[in-house]
Symmetry: C2
Subunit: 119 residues, 2 copies
């Protein structure tokens, strides 16, 4: 049980709801996961995030940047090429990723032969 | 950073992605939050989850029950009335809720006068 049950006057008064207003979407959390692993380039994220479209990845990165969780810098001017990394605020989200992973490891076992991981 | 960066053969091999396949939706997580606070009846959940529709709440509870995170019992036969509570698997998700709350408390401050909470 959560340690301090509360009744909020509105959902926006609840820190869980406020957090989900920003990251409450599967892809956003997976983008944060990949950035936390040190993936920095758009092409690397696109490849890793099996099934995400270019537009969707672009949108999620932009939104995370607007919310101050991701920083974008340019590593090439000609042609312009950006890379992305977690800000201090983005790094503060890592404990949520760790908790999601621990839950998944314990309670959502991988199915079949695809469960192996490559180091 | 996550302690063990990994490359997975597929998203389904990643425990974060597997968890999000089940709960990667804002309402599902808020339903789990309310159940973790001990709300048990459909009407109490509906009232607390400002903005959720009857159908959506029904769907999320059913899905959580199918995934073994929620248990439904009947406290009245005539008329049939159900109540819901977290299973052991559902309770195992509470650390994720705690991490989301701690992040929100620290990094997504409540805006304006609505930030007060009622105990």
């Amino acid at each position: 049980m959560l340690p301090e049950p509360r009744t909020y006057q509105s959902q926006s008064a609840c820190p869980v709801a406020r957090t989900l207003d920003v990251v409450g979407d599967r892809w956003t959390i997976l983008v944060l996961r990949d950035l936390s692993w040190g993936r920095r380039r758009f092409s690397a994220l696109l490849e890793s995030l099996e099934g995400i479209s270019t537009n969707l990845l672009s949108d999620r990165l932009k939104r995370l940047e607007e919310h101050g969780m991701v920083e974008r810098t340019f590593y090439s001017d000609h042609p312009p090429r950006a890379e992305y990394k977690l800000s201090a605020k983005g790094k503060a989200f890592v404990p949520v990723l760790v908790a999601l992973r621990e839950y998944g490891d314990a309670w959502e076992p991988a199915k079949g032969a695809l469960s192996g991981q490559v180091d």
